[in-house]
Symmetry: D3
Subunit: 242 residues, 6 copies
């Protein structure tokens, strides 16, 4: 019952975080989890949406999308269909919540950051790769604001913690880390774990669409997810130190 | 640090499940968790969507919505805005996954059931009330099909398990069951737990938007959620026995 | 040629007007005309739309909608389709015009009231039940404003008159009052009559889709409608006196 | 208290019905009620919408629209806004019902006719001009089908009756026929009357947005409307005889 | 290989420009190129869109549309479909660019002009007829502003140059001017040429969808287009002098 | 008056065509014109749209889009706005026409190819880079079909000719090849030239939004564009030979 790519059950795929992949954004990271490839850009604008003006608080939001042929068969564009699908909405909201958890909006001041996560190639785990990459892009965008003296608080206080995310799942009763697409579609339980660099949880979402899961299995998956996030945190640290 | 309505931390609000609240649907339940009031209807149609024809499998889907003035201030209608919001999408998908977990689609045969969950009055926990009520409505719709001899499998085998759901959260460091709106907006951690009647998990979603949470806290919240779902399962059993 | 529910041709169905059915809105009424059940809420906001600011006039508008399974077969949600249908538009406009006829917008002052009429269960006459119930909800909302001293004019002068509405129709050549669904689909002529408490007309809409009608028939239907509205006016009076 | 254009209270504006105004449609009429100018085209297609196939019945539907600068100030296009407004929906439905009243759908056979009524210039009464012109365009389209032997019934039996429509209203307590725009905005009561060539009613819609009206006033307006429709019927007869 | 209507290869169809066709717009022209008939209206509003306020510059924009039965078979309305098609967008943008080329936006001052070009009947060349007619409507709208002393610059300086447009194409290897619909669909190469009154180019768009074209052919088509525009310029001059 | 990047007026930017950039599509090319970076994928599906079935002809279509932060400032997503903009429509249509010009749809047989051109980074000339890259992706997709013996005609006959495209423009009266963004916004005349490998034209679009242009200038720009396309053709040939 080997994994399709020969990995150990608790082994991540090769992870790369390429900073400054694009020339225009204030932060931009091409994140790769194996063949999954997501372009995360952080776009800064001065000011906040009207309903938040005068609050002294900044705003961080996220939008997730897939190129039509990021997947094995082509999907119609949501811009052509004229509406966002439920999956897009759900993932965009997850990314936004996760990234807001790592920032002090008061120290950010009345600045807005939009995190665009566009999947260029999909092979499972696109939302967790997106969160992991978006953190690095957000960090770069905050540094950009710091260089311009545009933050309300001390630069060090804006990024309160780091976040990273990974998927875990049960396949044939075995808990596995960082599922590729082939594993994802066969998983009995599928869980996304978002952790801080300190190992705390930001978000946990576990689903047993083709089955149910016991507390013991949930615990095993959480252990695996926490360990995976710790490795990703280290990869983020190295990328930001480069 | 008493709860707004004087409950114990591990106490549910008054739960009522009124079957046959509407005269047209094959199953219809008005579910109340305290002041939260959701009308859950199950609409049966013969046949399945085109892409599923000939598969021998049935189809169960869910749509969640709120009346514009179910809430303290009025929200614009999504029909008037011309698009579904992200929250609506996210909750509809959660309800659909949860209810599909309790049904054997092969035994259902090529029949479709749409579960409409319309919030008439909101006071926290609308999505978990919706899942809890939709289970009863779905059960009634399957019985309706059984009476018409329209199921592919034995009636008893169609409903594989029951599902119920409840929200739990940390307020001022205290784990609490079944949050009302006032608690919900103040929770540091907010979790929705969907369990089967046997106490297994169908879905777990924990979010720490205004904070992060440790494994120990997660465990305490899960314990509380599992216990709450067991009580709701009992309420469902009684309602169906009536 | 008895009526499906054994009523006399000039007899209304049982009418109930339950005030304060919901806890959040400034006015809320569950109106029932037999099995037809419409939740009418009146939501007050301070101020008026931008184009009306500084005019000294208030604003009253209405939105009508049906739950997807209010009817014998399920209809797709307009929020999912992304557009309002013609019937929804037409009825919303009729309710809005009817309710604006009973209010002195100058005495209301720069306040806005939105009347949401959501059909929970449909058995014919939903638009006329909606108007009849919305009047009571609007009355309660105006009283709420009066208690807050937020009206521009004297409370008594804001509600210039009451309005009530009823459907009438020709079935097999017989004029009948307050058609249920089964009668509605078989009517040769279908008319909605909106009257004030004084018996004047606010709106009259008669349609002979499957036929035409003579002046004499029109006169008979108007007589029946006026009498029906008088009974409904009395029911409103009692509900408001309770 | 003379009318803006010096007419008698019971006098129509100059009415012209120009057939074959366009070269492509099976029927096309430019109808003018004074300065109001509506292009009515009837487009025939073989067959009926899918849900009606095999019924043996034809289908007649109508769409009303205004050019953006048909009015004194420019309105945004509904195609640019991406949605139809309530007024457009309401009027399109009225025209469709009125024209279906004059046709025997069984004798039409499984053919579809779309009546497009595009207002090129508006000066009050656009919907009634549209109905009056669309009747002539529909008549020409049915003749076109008759020449092609494409009708299910005898040509003479397809057009069961003629329809014409006119607006009437109370201005300063005086009942007036065929209101121009300036009168329309000042009317206390506004009514649209759709009659057959035999003087029966097809549709009656009376509204007292800025007031209410007594039975006596309603009667006076109906008298005026019936007389106006009789004159329009004569104009249609002459146009079709030309 | 005669042309369908017997014209010489370098001969325009009969061109008419009827000014003041509509009573409401500040400029309105019914332009006809043979059977092609486009109503061009120029609507003036004081002020400019928000993003342009304070710039001292005016704004000119254009919207092109076709009535549903302007063509041989009926097209669905874009307002009903809820979205503009690519062709509509493309042509609206072409008309807007062409007309902005003939106006000094600084001399226009902070006024906006919307040019609506609605095709009442189509027989090829609708976009070039629209540009040719819209120029005359724009000229009239600028004169209207001049009479009201509402221009920032001298009236004579606002209209910097005239523009006219014509289609040219290769049919069976022969370059032809001003294609009618039957020629248009059979053209190997189709080109739209927009020229100023001085014979300079404003826009050139050549397409060889069913083939490719050599430089020599391009040159022949350009010659033909320039000559055609010169004739149209003369027709515009006469219309404006009338 | 040197170019921003020091190029000669008739010099292209560095051009790279990276084949098989993505793993899922039948053809995929990352094309770079300097800093402009477009991912072109060709997605093959068996069969053609319904309206084309049984014709024996294939179908090739294109969709162009920009990532929100491909540009110097972030643009809102068209999927979020719920509608495609005019520019997107216009460019998608241009790419589609250009690529259809190089394929024999009969030899392709009833297969469909969608060319998705997503701009990852924009620095002028995105549409011409897209056409140039899409040709190579389409070539690979046709080879893929050939290997599967799924073409109706001989593989060699399907690709009738190659196409490449480049922008040219007048800056300060100087004709320049392959404008970068900074030049593009300052160009008096902007032209896109689409040529076949044999030097014939497929499409020519010249616009003088901030000015007009004489025949002589047009000729100079065409010369430059034809020469640029010849170089790009050579780059395509090399990429396909690799």
């Amino acid at each position: 019952m080997a994994r399709p790519d020969g990995r150990q059950p608790d082994q991540l795929r090769a992870v790369t975080l390429t900073r400054q992949w694009s020339m225009h954004p204030e932060g931009s990271v091409l994140v790769e989890f194996g063949a999954t490839r997501v372009l995360c850009t952080a776009s800064v604008t001065e000011g906040v949406p009207r309903w938040r003006k005068g609050s002294g608080l900044g705003w961080v939001t996220a939008e997730y999308s897939m190129l039509p042929r990021a997947t094995t068969t082509r999907s119609d564009r949501e811009s052509v269909k004229g509406r966002l699908g439920g999956r897009t909405h759900e993932i965009s909201r997850l990314i936004g919540r996760s990234l807001r958890a790592c920032i002090d909006l008061k120290a950010l001041g009345e600045n807005s950051v939009v995190l665009d996560c566009d999947v260029l190639q999909a092979d499972g785990g696109t939302r967790t790769a997106a969160i992991t990459g978006a953190y690095v892009a957000l960090h770069d965008a905050v540094s950009w604001l710091a260089r311009r003296k545009a933050l309300a608080g001390k630069p060090a206080s804006v990024m309160r913690r780091s976040v990273a995310a990974v998927s875990v799942g049960m396949i044939d009763g075995e808990p596995r880390l960082d599922l590729c697409y082939e594993e994802d579609v066969n998983a009995e339980v599928d869980m996304n774990v978002v952790c801080t660099g300190d190992g705390d949880f930001v978000e946990v979402q576990g689903t047993g669409e083709s089955g149910v899961f016991a507390r013991q299995q949930l615990d095993a998956l959480l252990d695996l997810g926490v360990a995976g996030c710790a490795e990703l945190t280290e990869a983020q640290r190295k990328a930001l130190a480069a």
